[in-house]
């Protein structure tokens, strides 16, 4: 094994993007994303790539759109409320099938919100990428290593499906430092065909224009639908932790899963058959996998998330279709649940089933 470097999730995601071939980054400062932006501000110049600190998140995401349209491997990162500023163009990126990668480090709450870590953008990220009802491929890393790996793979995925990849993470991943093994630097990547690189008279590229009836039509939207069906069949990712003979399964992602992991171990030591199911793709959601719980001898499901009202629980509920009792433990703002809180809740659930 190569030597692992100690780095924060922000730095690991930034460096992984560069190694995956990201050649354009535009962004605007917002806590807790700033160390990612700062890292890119020096590192992109070191490797001869393009970096812009934009005038706003609106500017940043539209620069990303231009870079992607022109064949660049474009990337931006932001947090919480600033995603709202990007939403119009995120919709455009999906509609125009422009490969690009966006990181959202979630912040607590609505409006001005707070800067504590949270999971309050689940619905926002998974239900419709802005107006129009199209989707990004939404990923939720569980720790710094996985954040690095998911960002690295995101660029190839975006190119493969000509789509937006949206990393929905939190400050627990972004700011915590852990040893990370980074993947190698990709070199001499080809410029994507079909991008606007200057051409005319027959070879002309029209990106997102009104005469693109291949995308702007019923058939076009059926093709988006078909792509999402393919994702649901082939691109769902999740982790099962101590699920082999589990009777009580905790469903959690990102920081909640991290906090809960120790609780599973504790409950196992107490003789309770507890396990954890951690969705890594939030869109497509692992609906079929959760729907199959009842056939595996699982007796109850506990949804854990840092969002009030809870959000992911709607997708878990939709997946279960009433086949198993569903419990929840949720929190927000300054009262993030602890491993001990989750242990207590799991014991309560174990008593009831």
């Amino acid at each position: 094994m190569a030597k692992r470097e100690l780095m924060s999730g922000n730095v690991a995601m930034a460096e992984s993007a560069i190694r995956a071939g990201c050649n354009f980054f535009a962004s605007y400062p917002i806590t807790p994303q700033t160390t990612l932006l700062e890292y890119m501000s020096t590192r992109m110049f070191e490797v001869g790539r393009e970096f812009i600190q934009a005038e706003s998140e609106i500017g940043a995401i539209n620069m990303v759109m231009g870079a992607a349209a022109a064949g660049g491997r474009a990337f931006t990162a932001t947090a919480g409320m600033a995603v709202s500023l990007m939403m119009e163009t995120l919709s455009y990126l999906c509609a125009a099938k422009l490969p690009s990668v966006v990181v959202n480090i979630q912040r607590t709450g609505a409006g001005a919100g707070g800067i504590t870590s949270s999971q309050t953008d689940f619905h926002y990220a998974t239900k419709s990428m802005g107006h129009g009802g199209l989707h990004a491929y939404v990923l939720s890393p569980g720790d710094v290593q996985e954040a690095a790996d998911l960002v690295y793979d995101a660029f190839a995925f975006a190119e493969k499906y000509q789509c937006l990849v949206y990393i929905l993470t939190d400050a627990m991943v972004a700011q915590v430092m852990e040893p990370v093994e980074l993947k190698p630097m990709l070199e001499n990547l080809p410029v994507r065909e079909g991008s606007a690189q200057g051409s005319a008279l027959g070879g002309t590229k029209r990106i997102n224009t009104i005469n693109r009836t291949d995308l702007r039509s019923l058939e076009g939207y059926r093709s988006f639908e078909a792509m999402y069906d393919t994702w649901q069949r082939e691109e769902v990712r999740y982790e099962e932790y101590r699920m082999e003979d589990a009777e009580i399964v905790l469903v959690a992602t990102g920081m909640s899963a991290r906090i809960a992991r120790g609780a599973i171990d504790t409950l196992r030591a107490e003789g309770v058959k507890a396990g954890m199911f951690r969705p890594i793709t939030l869109y497509p959601f692992p609906t079929q996998q959760i729907r199959g719980f009842a056939q595996r001898g699982i007796k109850a499901v506990l949804d854990a998330e840092v969002a009030v009202p809870a959000q992911m629980i709607d997708d878990v509920d939709h997946a279960l279709q009433g086949s198993l009792p569903l419990y929840k433990i949720d929190c927000t703002w300054n009262t993030v649940f602890t491993t001990e809180d989750i242990e207590k809740k799991l014991r309560e659930v174990a008593q009831e089933v």
Partner: protein, 247 residues
Amino acid sequence: MKAVYERNPLLMGSNKFCPGCGHPLLNKIIADVLAENNWAGDAITALCIGCALNMTPYVDWDLVQCPHGRAAAVATGIKHVQKSKLVFTYQGDGDAAGIGLTETFHAASRGEPFTQIMVNNQIYGMTGGQSSCTTLIGQKTTTSGPSGRDPAHTGYPTKLAEVIAMVDAAGYVARVSIHTPKHIRQAKKAIEKAFRLQMEENKYTFVEVLAMCPTNFHVEPWDAPAYTEEKVLPVFPLGEFKTPEGR
């Protein structure tokens, strides 16, 4: 037989603009500048939302249609990835000076080496003639009220060329018109100069083009040049506001 005039092959078929509209004329001017300088194969346009997007099926070079107002940011991204290419925005006044002023201003401030072309017809044309930030005092629109734009309520027309000329990093800023053959020749020269300064000297350049919208000026197409001369030019003076040689 010697051809005395040939259709520019960069212009395809007919267009959907209204009679007397400035856009198809300006599309032709740009197409001619591209063809004459052999730039067509290098051109990438960041196209705005509004009447301007009817240019899409009419011209035959690379186009990227942008969210409303964001053409300058999109062009920034394009130019950073395609540094040797001729990148220019094509935007209306509502797009570049209204909803997109921030993106316009900061692209100029950073000195991004592309060209912004703002087509100023003092109106939101595509949506049916609502007031724009450039609407003239007294001009009647569907949102101005019956007596036209009143400065007591909505202030005065935005003069973007003059504003951009104050930006240090702007390399060339001009306002031109296309209502007479003489003005068309001047406009063509200004656009060519803006493109050349971008390509050869890496300058941010800005050209505001006064265009006619007879439909929403409520005049006949043949009366639109006189309307421009009498009503528009006194408010929006023509000229080069900033050149590399000095103001």
